[in-house]
Amino acid sequence: VKVEVDQDGCVAAGQCVMSAPSVFDQRDEDGVVVLLKDEVDRGDENSVRFAIELCPARVIRLVK
């Protein structure tokens, strides 16, 4: 599974980094989400689902 983010809609709330710090990070200058990796392995899948659920701007999604 791959994870995708829409940086344009990100509001830098940091929920994704809290939920899945091995997958998501934030740009230092404006807090916008960056992916540390786009392939999600089994170990990360649950925490990425939490991130999707908690993201207030709804800009994260999984693609098969």
Binding site: V11, G14, M18, D28, E29
Partner: protein, 408 residues
């Protein structure tokens, strides 16, 4: 629908015997009424949105606006109305303006920045607890710990000297009140704005890293006028203090009233349990007691109901966070709860920018307080504590505490 004379008034009263719970009438109505017509302080009629799922859906719906200048926008009270109409704020800005302006400030609130501030927050908490331990007789936890911590953290973040504590404390009490007049609020806002504009002017040409230096550079670059730059600083100052402070004081009370869970936190070897407890306190207490205010700009269909265009909306997230369709045994305080997604910080693009910092301050405060003063207890019964029903942010005015072996 009942005739207009019978509309319930919002906010509804709490039950004095259950001061941590939302108004019982609102909880009762939530079970059968997703939308409750209600009247607010200025005589305007609004719809209360009671369910968690509907609240989250509306907060990400493009037909819902936070624009406080819209004639149907439901203000908190006369003072808040005056404040919201003075200047645009991140809280009341729709996109695209909101995201642009939020990103100017976001670098100070990334998870990385928050983690980096942990040692300093620990130092401040330790100093404040040292002060409590040296005091004789009962100590007011609100005045000695709950308020000084977030005010000091916010001052350091902005770059304001902490000796302005009394000044900030005095004026933020005025701006946070739902009952003060527009004149009173304007006077307090003017005083704080003057102070912040002076602070920004004094920083012109400086290369510091604090928020005021950052805002000064945005002013120098022509992005913000001096007043706009000061306005953003003021928004952060107001947002960071009152909210965290009241969560801290109420949180201590709730933890003391659940001694088994407190003991598990104190003696446990799982540090992540404190994080869980803070999350549960945020859900359980939801200190923003006046709800999230919005206005519809088009007709919106919600399940079997519809909201007309240009309708004032109050998303009562205090009951949203107690919605039994989402949170099992929602009225029980349970630090082991696995269900995430509480919306005390809001949802959608306006979700609290400082939430990571707030969580960290609360975690360090609770963990340190109960580790260093394990026998902490309240001096008076809960019935004698004065709760803040008149403020936008719920809390207690004073919380006298003592402990075994305290100097008298």
């Amino acid at each position: 629908m009942s005739s207009n004379d019978e509309l319930p008034f919002h906010p509804m009263p709490r039950d004095e015997r259950c001061p941590y719970d939302p108004p019982p009438e609102l909880l009762r109505r939530q079970a059968t009424e997703p939308l409750v017509p209600a009247r607010i302080w200025d005589g305007n009629d609004v719809l209360l949105v009671t369910g968690y799922a509907d609240q989250r859906a509306l907060l990400t719906n493009p037909g819902v606006s936070a624009d406080a200048t819209h004639p149907a926008f439901p203000h908190f009270g006369p003072g808040f109305k005056a404040r919201r109409l003075r200047a645009p704020s991140l809280l009341t800005m729709d996109n695209p303006d909101h995201d642009i302006n939020r990103r100017y400030l976001a670098s100070h609130f990334t998870m990385k920045s928050v983690h980096a501030s942990r040692p300093r927050i620990q130092e401040i908490v330790d100093e404040l607890i040292d002060g409590m331990l040296e005091a004789r007789g009962p100590v007011d936890l609100v005045g000695q710990l709950a308020f000084p911590l977030p005010v000091r953290v916010t001052c350091e973040l902005l770059g304001i000297s902490y000796d302005r504590y009394d000044f900030i404390q005095k004026h933020t009490q005025v701006t946070g009140s739902a009952t003060v007049t527009a004149e009173e609020v304007n006077a307090s806002l003017d005083a704080m704005l003057d102070f912040l504009m002076e602070a920004i002017e004094a920083r012109i040409g400086s290369e510091g890293e604090d928020v005021l230096c950052h805002l000064t550079r945005l002013h120098e670059a022509g992005t913000y006028s001096l007043k706009e730059a000061a306005d953003y600083a003021l928004q952060l100052l107001i947002a960071g203090a009152e909210t965290t402070a009241n969560m801290a004081a109420l949180g201590v009370m709730v933890l003391l009233e659940h001694p088994d869970q407190l003991e598990a936190l104190r003696s446990g070897d799982d540090p992540s349990l404190w994080g869980n407890a803070v999350e549960e306190l945020l859900r359980y207490l939801n200190v923003n007691q006046l709800g999230i205010r919005r206005v519809s700009t088009e007709e919106i269909v919600l399940g079997h109901h519809s909201i007309p265009a240009n309708c004032g909306l109050i998303l009562t997230h205090d009951v949203g966070n107690r919605d039994p369709r989402v949170f099992e045994e929602a009225d029980r305080f349970d630090i082991y709860r696995q269900q995430r997604g509480q919306i005390a910080f809001g949802f959608g693009i306006h979700q609290c920018l400082g939430q990571g910092l707030a969580r960290l301050e609360l975690t360090v405060l609770f963990e340190s307080l109960f580790r260093r003063i394990p026998t902490l207890r309240m001096v008076v019964p809960r019935e004698d504590i004065n709760f803040k029903d008149d403020m936008a942010i719920y809390g207690v005015r004073e919380l006298p505490v003592t402990w075994e072996g305290q100097q008298s």
